[in-house]
Symmetry: C2
Subunit: 601 residues, 2 copies
């Protein structure tokens, strides 16, 4: 298993040289840690990924989950993975020491997740969902719920899920119809259908703990009537043993990719015996769920980045070893063929992948650090980082998801016909990655969230803070001659972003919400490109600080590669904002006025 799926060098560059991970250990909450320990954690994560996850990456895809005897049968390694991650403390890496966790900074824990996801995304879905669901109970549930469920989840013995979607309620959660009827015993009786539930049932654990949205009988309509429940597959009976809780698995989907993890349909309360326990107060379910959802959204961005990373290294390896053709300036057929990485067009495809992958990872690690700062700082500064996370979440979810697919597609292209065949992993990455613009809120939903909510948040304060962050980077970059031109370009892009935003806000006034939001998806794309340009400039600053002093040849090559990729992003990707800005400034209402009948023929 010699295949490379991430770069430790790049990860450490981001953590230490760009983001100064060490600074976190200056805060009391993280004072037990130091960089040496971070390095050991990362090293252990790489080893675990190589030993446990990567070897079954293709195998879990080839043997997709099937429903048999009322239970979803998954690859046998799932049980081993859950158990080893539980025992190794990887499920509790972010949990406070007081609660038995490792209290690792999110920055480091997320870097480990990146490593795991790059090795085998499907396998990590089981873990991520369990982490999120347990955290939700920990944050908002009663002590009884915590004691009953969380220890087994943290041990990797029980699976957590987020159970939101229903046949008639996907993007529109306000339409969920799963009902919860209160009983005198304190629990609720649930009845309804859930679909598209990741890891919603499988034989790799002893129990499944659904964090489920439902409406209490008589609740107000819409999202204001949604409550959150813990609904286990098996509940703890009077004698302490697990008994069935009337949660039936009615189907398992056959999917394009992401086949190592089942997505299932659930039927609740067919026998009127499905018990659920309310989390927090009634009708506050969506608010609670959004803690898990926001983290899941950033997690999707990280997963998308991970897959694109692994695909990039697979393509790079192929391009270095596969010989084909000659340089266009040396076409003599008697010369030996060159490794295809020497063709400019192949280098362009690899630079594109690297620009997307390392730009996305930089943004995601930035978000992780904001999360840490939000956790450890006092209230005013906490709010600042909270707002930055609010505005960056749809971007951090969507840019890697959308661009990751294109990056993987370019990776596949580097392999030509071999990329289309399953002798190489590219075709699997291409299939696996297509889930990301869909799950945890589609790209369209993220776009409405960004333009329709986040940009307007607190009178535009989140957007102002975002602008200040970019401005700080621009100012810092201007000190380096090699970065001045890129700083200028980012400043121009930021100015354009502000102009486009102001324009759209005036359109909202003049033409109402339909026209205002019609091109929200393009706005998100526009915003995303500028955000990644910012991250590349941040990386450029770190390179300029360290690069000139680098003694080792390998370091000099690494920094040179960073600068070429930065130039690539500004030269090839940032110009895409021009066409987007032109369209965003044109609010002719085309897609609003288009009528269904005009699609007929």
């Amino acid at each position: 298993m010699a295949a490379k799926f991430i770069s430790e060098r790049n990860l450490k560059f981001l953590l230490y040289e760009v983001l100064d991970a060490e600074s976190l250990t200056g805060f009391e909450y993280y004072q037990e840690h130091n960089c040496k320990m971070f390095d050991m954690v990362l090293k252990a994560a790489v080893k675990l990924a190589k030993d446990l996850l990567w070897p079954v990456f293709a195998e879990m895809d080839r043997n997709q989950p099937e429903l048999a005897n009322g239970e979803v049968q998954v690859h046998p390694s799932v049980r081993a993975i859950m158990k080893q991650f539980g025992e190794g403390g990887w499920i509790t890496s972010r949990v406070p020491i007081d609660l038995g966790g490792e209290q690792l900074p999110h920055l480091i824990a997320d870097a480990c997740d990146y490593i795991f996801q790059a090795a085998n995304y499907s396998a990590t879905a089981y873990l991520g969902l369990t982490v999120g669901a347990a955290h939700l109970i920990e944050s908002f549930g009663s002590q009884m719920l915590y004691d009953t469920y969380v220890p087994s989840m943290y041990a990797g013995l029980w699976q957590g899920t987020m159970a939101l979607t229903e046949p008639e309620a996907g993007s529109s959660l306000s339409d969920i119809t799963t009902m919860a009827e209160p009983t005198e015993e304190g629990y609720y009786l649930l009845k309804g259908q859930k679909i598209f539930i990741s890891a919603g049932d499988h034989n790799g654990v002893d129990n499944i703990v659904h964090l489920m949205l439902a409406k209490i009988v008589g609740a107000p309509p819409g999202v204001k009537g949604i409550s959150l429940f813990v609904v286990p597959k098996k509940r703890v009976g009077p004698d302490g043993r697990l008994v069935p809780n009337d949660v039936a698995t009615s189907g398992v989907y056959h999917k394009l990719g992401y086949r190592g993890c089942p997505i299932v349909q659930l039927s609740l309360g067919d026998k009127n015996d499905c018990r659920g326990w309310l989390v927090g107060t009634p009708h506050s379910g969506l608010k609670y769920m959004f803690q898990m959802m926001n983290s899941a959204r950033v997690g999707v961005g990280l997963g998308a980045t991970s897959m694109a990373t692994a695909a990039y290294y697979a393509a790079l390896e192929y391009a270095k070893t596969r010989r084909q053709g000659r340089k266009v300036s040396q076409k003599d057929p008697k010369r030996p063929p060159v490794p295809i990485i020497e063709h400019a067009d192949v280098k362009r495809m690899l630079l594109f992948q690297r620009a997307v992958v390392e730009g996305s990872l930089s943004l995601l690690m930035q978000c992780s650090k904001y999360l840490d700062l939000q956790l450890v700082l006092n209230s005013e500064e906490k709010e600042k980082y909270n707002l930055l996370l609010e505005i960056l979440t749809p971007v951090a979810k969507t840019y890697p998801s959308e661009m990751g697919i294109i990056a993987i597609s370019q990776g596949l292209q580097c392999l030509g016909g071999s990329g289309y065949c399953d002798d190489y992993p590219l075709e699997q990455y291409f299939r696996d990655s297509r889930i990301h613009p869909i799950h945890e809120g589609t790209t369209g939903i993220q776009a409405m969230d960004l333009l329709g909510r986040k940009v307007l948040l607190q009178n535009g304060r989140a957007l102002s803070l975002y602008g200040e962050e970019l401005q700080a980077t621009i100012t810092a970059a201007e000190k380096f001659a090699e970065l001045r031109e890129f700083a200028r370009q980012l400043r121009a892009a930021l100015t354009e972003l502000q102009a486009v935003t102001q324009h759209l806000l005036s359109i909202a006034q003049q033409k109402g919400p339909e026209v205002f939001l019609a091109d929200a998806t393009l706005y998100l794309e526009f915003f995303g490109i500028i955000t990644i340009a910012w991250q590349w400039l941040r990386q450029g600053i770190a390179v300029q600080k360290a690069g000139p002093h680098a003694a080792a040849k390998a370091d000099r090559n690494f920094y040179q590669g960073k600068m070429f990729t930065l130039r690539y992003f500004f030269g090839y990707e940032l110009p895409r904002t021009m066409g987007l800005a032109q369209r965003l400034m044109n609010n002719d209402g085309l897609t609003v006025e288009m009528q269904t009948a005009f699609f007929n023929d």
Copy 2:
């Protein structure tokens, strides 16, 4: 099988209203035909597609070809399809009446292929390869070769292939090593390996006829030493019976998609008994093969358009029937959910698909008509259409291939989670379509062909002719008030294309071929967008001529839809040329100077 996979209304709009198919019947060669007959042919093609091809579209994917007992086993319907298409005259639709064919205009025959490919692309690959291979023998082979092979191919009993690629020679055909040794009996003895041969072996026919590139012993190096041979799987023995010809199938690929058609590895002459017959003269093989290759490239563009068409109609159907959420201006949860087609973002995704699909189809039908004109006109005009086809071939192959994938991906996105599951066909289209930027010359190869060869052809004459065609459309469009603004935009884009091209030609002089061709792929993308804008303007003219007089509501809706889609293309897609032009004018040699070592870390 009620599913819609193409629009007959749109096809007829292009054939009759945009391209005046009837005018072809004014030429002697096509005088036997008339529009009524064309309509009958199209109707028969739709029926055949619905009855024979569409019902096994998913089934052929789910049961992919496997190698057993030395032969590739394909879905049983392949034999029926080959036979019915042979008997129905569909393999010979373009063949002259004198040779037993239908002598249909390419415009009509290609329109039928579009219908077939939309119903089941994999199934049509068997047919298209047979048509191309037989045509190659017909054009350049001896009477003996014609008599021995072509009738059985035209009858759908024998499969034709194009056998070019080898393990060490994919994009670089100059490196093929399959050797052909002359014998005194007139045939050659072949020895070598071929890979990625579509329909290269299967049990759906009685024999396979490879049109194969190989080098005669002692041939000059490079492409100048390549010859073309007919190499059958079974040769005709002295008694007239078929005997094995020492062509062994050494493997079948497991692919991302396009699974209804096998791609195989062949081993030739393991027993020193693989006989091949030279086509035409020695060392002219690549020239001959390019007749089939050029037609195959345009065919790939048509196939890509077909798949994207079928995906568009599947997404449209879903969007019309699936209810979810409310309009952003009417968010009251007590209102019933709306069909998702009423959301502006969904309309945007559908308009994008339609803009790509109908724009691509318009270009491909345009190419078909050029081919017809080239066939029937006198030599000077013939040369004009030949040159237009030369310059448009890489565009007609690549634009639909690259954009088709994105269109299909947007179609999948319209279905949300359902798009990711195999209950709907979108996931299959997404997998199937990924082959198009690879086979018959990758996008990178097409780009070098366009900028490095076609633009330079006859001192830029092909490009001038292309410019004249666009100019004629612009002039015609300016007569309509509704089109004037789009005519202006296309004129500006054409001017930009000419400026970028001139700039790149000067770069070729100053900096040499490496820098000149470094961004050829971007140039092809740039060229492609402008070409499709031209096609939309051509459609706009037809709409403006017919639309105002349309009496039927359905026609008025159709023309309205066309105008919205035209506006979409000019409003959302054409602006993408801005960023591309900016990059193309920047020849800093980034991807030339990037070094392999800088990719290390």
